[in-house]
């Protein structure tokens, strides 16, 4: 039996692009680097209008403990620092707008360290922090923070997350197939940085090629093994993955480090390798561009800051009129209001869906079937929480665990009454934050 968690759903996977090799997309005519691409405080801009920047030049400095640097993805001139539509905030936020010169000259401070595998843990964390690396699976939590756990919470197990349980997305699958050696070296560096004893590379069993390649790659690294997971959504969710692999439960309101675990996405792992070996900041990533509206869906190596509009054009444009654009996967991704939004460090996929793929259901009354309770991987009581939230009884919703909701969308997906359950939970979290501020 394959490793897995309790609950979850089986949406149609529609991984149309798993056989499309990663293709480099090139440099767009305009690059938008939002100062806030991560969880935490936005970066402070270091450049102003007219400044010359190069590939890898630091243009925004982290502010505070949970924050991350941002870098220029190519050489050119800073046009201005101004508000620009942001795909996560869903409003305009300050961004550095750069006009590339097409030369793509590398910043002269970026030099290779041939002895990178012997870098000390402090050096690894420092280079990761300097490179502005954040979690590339979607949540975009600054990686250097995760690599600096407090002393009283030692980490023994490192999990490299290649589950990629979201439908449509194939970027991590391709990354593992094509860059297994870089991923495993990055994983080794992370393992060293936190002093973990064991490393596990978790892959769902619907990616047999990736499993094979990774299994070959771990042979040189005795601390690592490949774990084959059952294909089920949300297998790649942090808490579910930890439980499936170690049978340890992250406490309510706690972090993986509370149970001695650390989870990093395969893309992040590769970025760590580039940061430690080449001192290369995070300025490009592999993103799946897919959905029925596209002429050439595929996996693309794209510069951070490329506008979705330009990304589309460079990838061959549209075949059909899209009705919905989503950044991320279809289960947890965020619907967009404009294609001007840039690709961020955490953008794992861009979906352009046609009217045939999108359902716009009307909410009906709960029929008490209990399917949401059955599938909830956090063992919550979604229909009860939604009822309380509709009646503005937020405190009671908190008591039965609304803050533990990981917003995976399994309940909304199975609900036959089409109740937008996760929307209610996200809303309740916002109201509870407001109540806490007032108190």
């Amino acid at each position: 039996m394959r490793l897995t968690f309790k609950g979850g759903v089986h949406p149609p996977y529609r991984k149309y692009t798993s056989e499309n090799p990663i293709k480099e997309i090139g440099i767009p005519e305009e690059v938008i680097i939002p100062l806030s691409q991560h969880t935490g405080a936005p970066a402070k801009p270091l450049v102003d209008r007219g400044a010359s920047v190069y590939r890898g030049t630091k243009i925004g400095e982290l502010q505070g403990f949970i924050s991350a640097n941002v870098h220029s993805p190519t050489s050119g001139k800073v046009k201005r620092v101004f508000e620009w539509p942001h795909p996560v905030a869903l409003k305009s936020l300050p961004a550095i707008i750069i006009e590339p010169d097409g030369e793509d000259t590398l910043d002269e401070n970026i030099k290779e360290d041939a002895d990178y595998l012997n870098a000390s843990p402090q050096e690894i964390v420092e280079r990761v922090k300097e490179a502005g690396i954040v979690g590339m699976g979607g949540a975009a939590f600054p990686t250097h923070v995760k690599l600096s756990p407090p002393k009283e919470k030692p980490i023994d197990t490192l999990i490299i997350n290649g589950a990629e349980c979201e439908p449509y997305l194939t970027a991590d699958d391709r990354l593992m197939r094509e860059h297994a050696d870089e991923i495993i070296q990055g994983a080794y560096l992370i393992l060293k940085a936190v002093g973990a004893k064991r490393g596990v590379i978790a892959i769902e069993d619907n990616k047999p090629e990736a499993i094979e390649v990774m299994e070959r790659a771990v042979r040189d690294f005795p601390d690592f093994e490949v774990a084959v997971m059952k294909t089920k959504y949300p297998e790649g969710a942090e808490k579910q993955l930890i439980w499936a692999l170690t049978r340890r439960q992250v406490p309510s309101g706690g972090l993986p480090m509370d149970v001695g675990a650390l989870v990093q996405n395969v893309g992040t792992s590769r970025a760590v390798y580039h940061a430690v070996r080449y001192r290369m900041p995070l300025i490009e990533r592999v993103t799946t561009l897919t959905g029925g509206a596209l002429a050439n869906p595929g996996n693309y190596l794209v510069r951070i800051g490329t506008k979705v509009e330009d990304f589309l054009k460079m990838a061959g444009g549209l075949a059909e009129e899209p009705v919905k654009a989503i950044m991320g996967g279809p289960m947890m991704g965020i619907a967009q209001y404009t294609l001007d939004v840039p690709i961020l460090k955490g953008t794992s996929g861009v979906l352009l869906m046609t009217a045939r793929e999108v359902e716009l259901p009307r909410e009906r009354d709960c029929i008490r079937c209990g399917r949401c309770v059955e599938v909830c991987p956090m063992f919550l009581y979604p229909t009860r929480m939604a009822y309380l939230i509709k009646n503005k009884r937020f405190e009671e919703a908190r008591e039965i665990g609304v803050l533990d909701c990981i917003e995976c969308g399994s309940c909304s997906y199975v609900c036959p009454a089409r109740i937008p359950l996760v929307q209610y939970f996200k809303y309740a979290k916002a109201e509870l934050r407001l109540l806490a501020q007032k108190a």
Binding site: E83, L90, K91, S92, L360, P420, Y427
Partner: protein, 268 residues
């Protein structure tokens, strides 16, 4: 025959014993409550809206007697209720004129375009907190009517242009609508205020202009033309500091005319 007699006597005896017990309990265990609480509760409108700061009318009545709460807090009842309570308690208090709700947004569909179609739960608060709204302007009215639903006095309705309308004669100034609005667009203002900055947008001028034709673009013309100390610019938005000098028709009309985006409105 015998059975009926016995049961009648038996039941009667039990009934009498119970009645006696209740009588004693009523006399012995009676809670003495100031009768004035009931009287004040009678006078109060009974809307339980919470505008006075207490959960309901009964709580407010108790607070007046037990905690010496001011008697002029009920905006719904207004001066009449204050007078009646004053007469009952033999105290006098200056009746306050209740404020009135004003919708500080003019961004209807014709001037503030929508950026997407929203398909979620039908509530302004939910839409605001989960999607930041379907208008380009992230400060403007969302238009799903949380305020209208909150109003207990039928003093509001959603206008045809998608913005709420307040029936000033019915508005009691309780402030429930202002509390319901996730974007603080509804403000409770003094009834005699005549000049309003009908915008809440804090974006920079260039963006605000793009998002809505009647947005405050922070040009500062009003601040220059207004008497000193009555208006200021804060976070790219004109703010009224002291409304009284601005009620002067000459000043009010001038400011309304000078505002390039018609954000400032003078209502006679």
């Amino acid at each position: 025959m015998n059975t009926i007699t016995i049961s009648l006597i038996g039941m009667g005896a039990i009934g009498l014993a119970m009645a006696l017990f209740l009588l004693i309990a009523y006399k012995k265990l009676k809670v003495h409550e100031d009768p004035r609480i009931d009287q004040i509760d009678e006078i109060l409108p009974g809307a339980n809206c919470g505008a006075c700061g207490y959960p309901g009318c009964r709580h407010y009545a108790e607070a007046i007697i037990k905690e010496n709460a001011p008697i002029n807090l009920c905006t719904v009842g207004g001066p009449d209720v204050t007078d009646a309570i004053g007469k009952l308690l033999g105290i006098e208090a200056e009746a306050i004129t209740p404020p009135v709700a004003v919708v500080m947004c003019q961004g209807d569909e014709s001037v503030a375009p929508r950026r997407a179609k929203y398909h979620g739960a039908s509530s302004c608060r939910i839409e605001h907190f989960t999607t930041n709204g379907d208008k380009f302007c992230t400060y403007g009215c969302i238009g799903l009517g949380d305020c209208v639903e909150a109003c207990q006095f039928d003093a509001m309705y959603m206008g045809e242009n998608g913005l709420p309308v307040i029936i000033e004669d019915k508005c009691t100034g309780c402030g429930l609508c202002a509390e319901a609005c996730p974007r603080d667009i509804i403000e409770m203002v003094p009834r005699d205020q005549k000049l309003f900055v009908l915008c809440k947008n804090k974006d920079r001028g260039a963006l605000a202009r793009k998002y809505c034709k009647v947005a405050c673009i922070a040009c500062g013309i009003c601040v220059k033309n207004a008497p000193e100390g009555t208006m200021e610019m804060k976070d790219n938005l004109a703010i009224i500091l002291d409304y009284k000098p601005l009620n002067d028709p000459e000043v009010g009309n001038l400011l309304q005319e000078k505002c390039p985006t018609n954000t400032i409105v003078y209502r006679e």
